[in-house]
């Protein structure tokens, strides 16, 4: 035990660090054993994390970024095995004991226990699952501290109060249980726990995914400040490259288990050199500058079983050539760029432009027209919609407080708001999935009761909804053809289309699932997220509706394929003249393809206007805050306007007060 005279937590440096990286990964390879062939998830990866720096690890889902990070501290369970390489940790506190650095891969369980949390801590993606629901957060923080430091309970409680203030939460919230905190606050608690015993490395695995952009921005700022203050290093894993551009010092882009480019953030911000990095950057709709047609990255990542010949990205690459199959994927310095800018593509040259130069689609160019003035016929309108939950006993929560909106033929209206703003509830009210508390729904100017049983099918043949989660919205036990066949059968009397194979194929072609034979008899689990979402859209189209309600249709998908789905929906607007309600938390994507934007906050529409207009000149503080908080590759650490910043702080206070 430590004598009481010593400071409660040994935060002081005791030992000098050798120069060089704090975490040094060399040639790391990780396999997932499987009967149908091992999945080689991480292939010979080198990576360095330098003290006090933030390294961002980016890539699509399945690219191996999380496997790399968890494998490097040996947190993966069999069937995962490390098949080669070295991981060395150079900590100050361990410098005396391990002068050459701590060899993670050679260590046993006991050795690793001394490293984990004390030296390398982790902030998990889902704070709700990582926190124990039956313990007060105070006790969880204290348990964590006392598991690693020989200090008394009182000292640990002192430390927990210190920590919770440090991450911007008031001390009295320490007595709360996890479910009493908002998502953002839970994630702050996770960060406090990670920092509780002063680790030198913090692995952050998608720490802000699932949080609203405003909260995300606050937390990222917090992390940056704490890093300056305490001097730890961060390995930041995310699928959102634009987020890394705001906070990381260095960006590592992974594809198919390999590093394809690593560079100082500034170099990536200016475009990166590897075609994959460029593709990722080109997948983010921008909030500023001209509105351009984005390309995304067509295709899907390769199967990671077995060896890959040459560059794994070549089937999706705009610059692919025969020689791509011969390269060995080793990283090399990019000529003409700053030191440390490495890429695996030997054919890049700075300044090379994409073959299809970005197409500007603003009104001025005449490529695509969108304005409120030439709106088509009004199809569906909600007037003064209201939805209260609760009642009977207990208090009433109003999710939607008197919202009116109009959907016109051939136009996309975007409903933008944070989670809990009531935007999804509006979709459910308009689709008839839920009964509204009050208000009117008008179809073609006539009042209608969507959820009434006698109207339901007729209404469904006019208004269809596409769900957010493509993994949950298809029955896992049924084939694709079943889903489409049922939708065709239910509406065949109105559409005059038989539920035949030919009609199923026509629908599959309409959503570009080619070849149709392959998809017709597939089960949902055999499809990628993007393909499933296409099936969901095809199912909605089977009724030949005039209104499509799309509830966050791309938020669960990888950035590289979001655009394809959005473009598909945009095409339905143009070709089939559908009236579309696009619900999203991402105002940049709303700007990308909506005609009109409604901003929703706490059950009310706070601002509405033509998309371009609203994004350029937001008048309401909340809209300004939303726009300022959205990660944007073009502007580094964009400043939040003063008025909006006040609103953000008030929001945070309110969050604390209400819970």
């Amino acid at each position: 035990m430590v004598p009481a005279s010593e400071p409660p937590v040994a935060l002081a440096t005791n030992g000098a660090r050798p120069p060089g990286p704090v975490l040094d990964i060399k040639g790391l390879s990780i396999n997932y054993l499987s009967e149908s062939g091992d999945v080689r998830a991480v292939r010979d990866v080198d990576m360095e994390l330098h003290p006090g720096k933030i390294v961002g690890l980016a890539g699509e889902s399945g690219c191996g970024k999380s496997t790399l990070a968890y494998g490097a501290v040996r947190l993966l369970r069999p069937p995962a095995i490390v098949t080669g390489g070295s991981v060395t940790y150079h900590g100050r506190r361990l410098a005396a004991k391990h002068p050459g650095g701590f060899d993670v891969l050679a260590s046993d369980d006991a050795g690793l226990k001394a490293i984990r949390w004390r030296e390398v801590a982790i902030v998990f993606q889902s704070a709700m699952n990582a926190l124990n629901p039956v313990l007060r957060i105070e006790d969880q923080i204290v348990d964590g501290i006392r598991a690693h430091l020989p200090i008394s309970r009182e000292q640990a409680y002192d430390r927990s109060r210190e920590l919770i203030e440090m991450v911007g939460i008031k001390q009295d919230r320490l007595k709360a249980y996890p479910h009493e905190l908002s998502g953002g606050m839970r994630q702050r608690v996770m960060i406090a726990m990670a920092l509780s015993v002063d680790p030198e490395v913090v692995i952050m695995d998608e720490p802000t995914t699932g949080l609203d952009v405003i909260v995300q921005k606050e937390i990222l700022k917090e992390v940056l400040e704490l890093k300056e203050q305490l001097g730890f290093s961060v390995l930041f894993i995310t699928h959102d490259l634009s987020l890394l551009l705001e906070i990381a010092d260095q960006v590592v882009v992974m594809y198919a288990g390999q590093v394809v480019e690593q560079a100082p953030t500034a170099d990536v911000r200016s475009g990166g050199v590897h075609p994959y990095t460029r593709g990722l950057l080109g997948s983010f709709p921008r909030l500023r500058g001209p509105r351009v047609q984005l390309t995304g990255i067509p295709g899907a990542p390769p199967d990671l079983r077995g060896a890959l010949k040459g560059c794994p990205f070549h089937p999706r690459c705009a610059f692919a050539q025969d020689a791509c199959l011969q390269i060995d994927m080793s990283l090399a310095q990019v000529p003409g760029m700053g030191a440390g800018h490495m890429t695996a593509c030997p054919f890049v040259a700075p300044g090379r432009t994409l073959p299809e130069a970005a197409r500007v689609i603003d009104r001025a160019t005449g490529v695509e027209d969108r304005s409120v003035a030439d709106a088509g016929d009004l199809v569906l309108a909600g007037v003064d919609l209201r939805k209260d939950y609760g009642g009977r006993r207990g208090h009433v929560v109003s999710a939607v407080k008197g919202v009116s909106l109009e959907l016109h033929r051939g136009r996309v209206v975007a409903l933008v708001g944070a989670s809990g703003s009531g935007k999804s509830t509006i979709a459910k009210l308009l689709s008839g999935q839920e009964k509204r508390t009050s208000g009117t729904i008008m179809l073609d100017g006539k009042q209608i009761e969507p959820s009434a049983r006698r109207n339901f099918r007729a209404y469904k043949s006019e208004v269809q909804m596409v769900f957010q989660d493509p993994f949950a919205s298809l029955n896992p036990l049924k084939k694709v053809s079943y889903h489409l066949q049922r939708a065709l059968a239910v509406h065949s009397s109105r559409t005059g289309r038989e539920p035949s194979v030919a009609e199923i194929d026509r629908l599959l072609e309409q959503v570009k699932l080619n070849p149709v034979e392959k998809f017709r008899d597939a089960y949902p689990h055999e499809l990628s997220g993007g393909q499933r979402q296409r099936v969901s859209i095809a199912r909605a189209l089977a009724a030949e509706p005039r209104v499509l309600l799309a509830d966050e249709p791309v938020s669960m998908l990888d950035v590289s394929i979001r655009l394809e789905i959005l473009d598909l929906i945009a095409e339905l607007r143009t070709n089939s003249q559908l009236a579309i309600l696009y619900i999203t938390h991402d105002i940049a994507s709303a700007r990308y393809f909506a005609d009109e934007i409604l901003v929703m906050h706490q059950g009310e529409i706070v601002e509405r206007g033509p998309a371009e207009e609203l994004v350029k000149n937001p008048t309401q503080a909340y809209t300004q805050l939303l726009i300022a908080s959205s990660p944007d590759p073009d502007t580094f650490a964009s400043e939040v306007p003063e008025q909006a910043a006040i609103l953000a702080r008030e929001g945070l206070e309110k969050e604390v007060a209400s819970e």
Partner: protein, 321 residues
């Protein structure tokens, strides 16, 4: 066409075999034991070496001998023959109760869970009433009153009193499924509620339905044995409970005739165990959490517990582990 139907039959058989091989070991053992009972239920009467009702002039039960492997009753009835013949009635009763009670609980539970509102209130109330009924006294009263006409009336009464628990479980499961997106999506398509229940929800509850079925069979067999032991049974036919009843009324314990009650007792216990094993196995199938708790994996010569650090295998060649 015989050419195409034969391969299809074989293919179906193969699929069943592959499915069986993937089952947890507990379920495999349980199914194997249960299969023996079902086989005996079918062919038992032909296997039985003696007439179970045969009486001799002897006045004491005879211990196991080569002629009477399980010994005899006090009146000289061969216990082995009684068991072999009694298996049929017991198994039929168990399966019939399982089918009827599970059907009832699935219908009531799924409808209550999916429809919600007043339908849920009414059906739940019904289930709750049946849950709090004292089942055994009621059975004694009802079956004692009914004429002894065989297994089917008993099965119906047992089902009527035993469906409620399964219905509660099905209701809970349905309520968790009904707000899943694919069910909402089926509503969005415009499907009728009954179609959603039968074609979207029920196939996703197969594991639970199977477990509920097995549990009900277990309950039915134990209850019927208990009833027969109390003398509430159809004495014109043999079942396990009858043997125990005669053993008890023939003072088998006082006479030291252990074979008279131990053999039928163990027979019932093993049947019950096989059903419990199957249920555990089904639980592991439907609840991955139970599986991961036993997920020690063998890698090479070592087995790894879930909390162990990631194994490092240098010079790894695919397939070597």
């Amino acid at each position: 066409m015989p050419e195409s139907s034969a391969p299809r039959f074989i293919r179906g058989l193969r699929r069943i075999l592959v499915g069986y091989r993937r089952l947890p070991i507990k379920a495999k053992v349980g199914i194997a034991i249960l299969s023996v009972y079902i086989l005996v239920a079918i062919i038992g009467p032909w296997l039985a070496p003696y007439d179970p009702n045969a009486t001799t002039t002897q006045a004491v039960p005879e211990g196991p001998t080569l002629h009477h492997l399980f010994g005899t009753s006090a009146t000289g009835g061969d216990v082995l023959s009684q068991i072999l013949i009694g298996t049929r009635a017991t198994v039929i009763l168990g399966l019939a109760t399982g089918v009827i009670a599970t059907t009832l609980s699935v219908l009531v539970g799924t409808a209550a869970g999916y429809l919600g509102g007043y339908a849920d209130e009414a059906l739940s109330l019904l289930a709750n009433i049946f849950l709090v009924m004292p089942v055994l006294p009621l059975l004694v009263v009802i079956l004692g009153y009914l004429p002894h006409t065989g297994e089917v009336p008993t099965a119906i009464v047992l089902s009527a009193l035993g469906w409620a628990w399964g219905a509660r479980v099905m209701r809970a499961q349905t309520m968790s499924l009904r707000n899943r997106d694919f069910v909402l999506a089926a509503r969005e398509v415009g499907e009728r509620p009954w179609r959603i229940i039968v074609f979207e929800l029920m196939p996703n509850q197969i594991g639970l339905i199977a477990a509920s079925f097995v549990g009900t069979v277990f309950y039915a067999i134990l209850t019927s044995v208990a009833l027969a032991f109390l003398g509430i049974t159809n004495f014109s036919d043999w079942n396990y409970g009858d043997i125990l009843y005669w053993a008890q009324s023939g003072s088998a314990v006082n006479l030291g005739a252990w074979w008279w009650y131990v053999f039928p007792g163990v027979t019932v216990a093993v049947l019950g165990m096989s059903l419990v094993l199957i249920n555990f196995g089904l639980d592991e199938l439907s609840n991955p959490r139970l599986r991961s708790s036993r997920a020690t994996r063998k890698l090479g010569r070592r087995s790894w517990r879930p909390a162990d650090p990631t194994p490092v295998v240098r010079n790894y060649v695919e397939g070597m582990l």
